[in-house]
């Protein structure tokens, strides 16, 4: 049983290190040019279209996809390196991140050829933004409770209902969403959901921003009223989306973005304590670095499994569980240690400002991408308990 929970010590191949240098150099240039400020994770506007296009021009979007769709046919591990460098630099990835990580792979797998030819190259160029419509009011993590209906009509479907907590819906050009095409069956409550490609910014869709406790506006309520989706925008099997959606989640759960969201406070703490820390600070930093290193090793290992064509659903859930709990606790542990930072530390104000924001961010981390409780249920199933 535990044989299934081995995380082999995958090493990133040499070409990843060359790529890492290129990404770092690119980010340093963009920072120097004022495109974004790495010390402001709470910047007002994380949607920077020209940054997306530059990343696309470098060939760092859709990296693993076939060349005929604008991809680079590079490895999943190379993509991993780009993701972690962007995350650590607090780069404004909002516009392209979801499309690159999740929506593109779904289209590759399930969209008809003409749609792939139309949309995937535009994702690769960093021109378009995607949102994911899974949660609904009163469903949330319970994906199979979704009620928003797709009713068959001439040449397509009419959508009625509401999606919620939809990140980036206010700037998105497309959404990949699941809608109810049939009621669940007695035998299978997962039955009856279908995945659709939705073109946003059309009549029949209303996007209402929802404010967050951080002061930002990232997610939205999306209301569909008799919104028409053509037949060729059905992705995969009608009534069978649950199979598709769950394998998609392995990509969403184990990446470096699942333990690096509050990483910046650790960097600033190290800066603030200086080269010769007291014992308490040294011990605190050492533990946090050991935990970070371990999670990253696990995450890289899952990336290796994905590269090998496996579907490490349980392993990815473990990485997400441990990773998000860690990044949630990190600002609080850093705050404990920051109490002893000298008044004269050069970055004291930056540290305090970042801590303030990270502490406000922390509560969402164990919720987004699947709540901790749901993930632990998946792990328990993998252990043979359910």
């Amino acid at each position: 049983m535990t044989a299934a929970l081995r995380f082999d010590p995958i090493r990133l191949p040499e070409k990843c290190e060359q790529l890492r240098k290129e990404v770092r150099a690119f980010l340093a240039e963009e920072i120097a040019a004022g495109t974004f400020d790495p010390h402001k994770p709470n910047r007002e506007d994380t949607d920077v279209p020209e940054f997306s296009r530059k990343v696309g021009a470098r060939g760092w979007l859709g990296m693993t996809w076939p060349k005929k769709y604008g991809g680079q046919e590079r490895s999943f591990l190379e993509r991993y390196v780009v993701t972690e460098e962007m995350r650590v630099a607090n780069a404004p990835t909002r516009r392209f991140f979801v499309a690159d990580r999740q929506s593109g792979p779904v289209l590759l797998k399930y969209a008809p050829e003409h749609i792939k030819m139309d949309i995937l190259p535009r994702i690769c160029r960093g021109e378009i933004c995607f949102a994911i419509g899974m949660s609904e009011p009163n469903s949330g993590s319970d994906l199979f409770a979704a009620k928003t209906r797709a009713t068959k009509t001439d040449g397509g479907y009419l959508i009625n209902g509401t999606k919620i907590w939809t990140s980036s819906a206010h700037i998105a050009d497309y959404m990949i969403a699941i809608f109810r095409t049939s009621p669940p069956t007695k035998e299978n409550r997962r039955h009856g959901l279908t995945q659709f490609l939705v073109k946003m910014k059309q009549p029949g869709i209303k996007v209402n921003p929802i404010g967050q406790i951080t002061g930002q506006y990232e997610f939205n309520e999306v209301v569909f009223t008799d919104f028409f989706v053509p037949d060729d925008h059905v992705l995969g099997e009608v009534d069978g989306a649950w199979k598709q959606a769950t394998s998609e989640l392995a990509y969403e759960r184990s990446g470096p973005e699942r333990f690096l969201e509050t990483y910046y406070v650790l960097t600033e703490l190290v800066r603030a304590v200086g080269p010769d820390p007291d014992t308490r600070s040294a011990e605190g930093i050492g533990r946090l670095v050991a935990q970070l290193h371990t999670m990253r090793r696990m995450s890289v290992s899952v990336a290796g499994m994905l590269q090998a064509g496996k579907e490490p659903v349980v392993e990815a859930s473990i990485v997400k569980d441990i990773g998000t709990v860690w990044e949630q606790q990190l600002p609080h542990r850093v705050r404990d240690l920051a109490a002893f930072v000298e008044e004269t530390a050069t970055n004291r104000e930056t540290l305090e400002r970042q801590l303030d924001f990270a502490i406000k961010t922390a509560p969402k981390l164990t919720i987004q991408g699947g709540t901790t409780e749901v993930l632990r249920g998946i792990i328990a199933r993998g252990l043979g308990l359910r």
């Binding site: 049983m1 535990t2 044989a3 929970l5 081995r6 995380f7 082999d8 010590p9 090493r11 890492r20 972690e84 460098e85 650590v88 990483y263 650790l266 960097t267 600033e268 190290v270 800066r271 304590v273 200086g274 080269p275 010769d276 820390p277 014992t279 600070s281 040294a282 011990e283 605190g284 930093i285 050492g286 533990r287 670095v289 050991a290 935990q291 970070l292 290193h293 371990t294 999670m295 990253r296 090793r297 696990m298 290992s301 392993e315 473990i318 569980d321 441990i322 409780e373 993930l375 632990r376 249920g377 792990i379 328990a380 993998g382 252990l383 043979g384 308990l385 359910r386």
Partner: protein, 354 residues
């Protein structure tokens, strides 16, 4: 149990399964299982896995030896297998042949020091030395005026005071008072006390990870058998979530330990990358021993707290192994100092270098 794909581990697992069944050992208060187990391990050449053929060992690779230690952890083996392996490895670094029989390695704490006098005699006091009472020889690292030396010492020449660790295994205090070694040679460049502690720490990390794998197995099994409130306790969501956390701790420990072992096996020296990996593994595995062991006991309820049940063979030993070759607090301070001295902007490059 994890399936092994290497012959060293397969051999060891067969011996452990035949002669180190935890329930049998737990019922045997006289320790009569120890001699046959040690004999079988020795006949298979496992205690001297890391010693080359020409120095009396079986010349297994570092990687195979590390996998063997992980398997030993899964069986919570309470004979000085890891200790003899480490001792043989240390002696081999100075091309000193390994004698037969049980060995252990000194010092076992980064704070203890053995020094070499002008006449070549060794002096020093080492606390918490695992299985010193059982050892016929000590392999040790000593500080001489002109550098570090590796020595083989007849255990009967030292004064050994018995102690027990949290897991009821021998953890003794060894005092050397002008003891003449059997052999002493200069250590190769880069093989210093820190390197020895990192090597020992990774051995312990693999053992802890193995013990956690077994704790997860037996806890899952128990939860599927034990009925309370008219259902199997595995059906209670709270229990499932605890076991999911235990799986996470077990996986984290194994990932950290195997990554560190892989780093040592593939590095030319005990460089910065090995330092990060080995120190991090010891810290994270020790934390996992505390959290994971706590959950395993919680799942088992009162029965797991009894001396008759085998759980303590894993849980207490995993807790005890935290202390050898530098505790997690020690390594956290050292790693924190290293990170701070490099500066904030070097932290991510260091982590990402692995």
């Amino acid at each position: 149990m994890a399936e092994s794909d290497n012959i060293v581990v397969e051999t060891a697992e067969k011996i452990f399964a035949d002669l180190a069944d935890p329930q049998t050992i737990n019922n045997d208060k006289k320790g009569s299982w120890q001699a046959p187990l040690w004999r079988a391990l020795s006949e298979a050449g496992l205690p001297l896995s890391w010693v080359p053929d020409d120095l009396g060992g079986s010349g297994a690779s570092l990687a195979d030896g590390f996998a063997l230690l992980n398997a030993a952890g899964r069986f919570a083996v309470a004979v000085p297998l890891a200790e003899t392996m480490l001792a043989g490895w240390l002696l081999a670094q100075a091309r000193i042949a390994s004698p037969e029989g049980e060995m252990t390695v000194l010092p076992a704490s980064p704070r203890d020091r053995i020094t070499v006098d002008a006449d070549g005699a060794l002096s020093g006091r080492c606390r918490g030395v695992p299985f010193a009472k059982a050892a016929k020889h000590f392999a040790l690292l000593a500080h001489a005026r002109d550098g570090v030396s590796i020595a083989l010492v007849d255990a009967s020449k030292a004064r050994t005071e018995s102690g027990l660790n949290v897991g009821y295994d021998h953890s003794d205090t060894v005092t050397l008072d002008k003891v003449q070694p059997v052999t002493i040679k200069a250590a190769p460049k880069g093989l210093d006390q820190t390197a020895m502690m990192l090597m020992g720490g990774v051995a312990r990390s693999l053992q802890i990870a193995g013990a956690l794998e077994s704790m997860l197995d037996i806890s899952v099994r128990y939860s599927n058998e034990r009925v309370a409130f008219e259902k199997k306790i595995s059906k209670f969501q709270a229990v499932q979530h605890n076991l999911a956390r235990l799986a996470g701790e077990s996986a984290a420990a194994l990932a950290a330990a195997t990554s560190a072992a892989d780093a040592i096996a593939n590095a030319k020296s005990f460089d910065d990358a090995v330092y990060l990996e080995a120190a991090a593994a010891k810290i994270r595995c020790a934390e996992a021993a505390e959290k994971g062991g706590g959950i395993a006991h919680q799942v088992h309820g009162a029965i797991g707290f009894t001396i008759e049940h085998i759980l303590h063979r894993y849980s207490l030993r995993a807790l005890a192994w935290r202390d050898d070759f530098g505790s997690e607090s020690y390594w956290a301070v050292e790693l924190g100092k290293l990170v701070a001295s490099r500066g904030a902007d070097e932290l991510w490059p260091l982590v990402a270098s692995r």
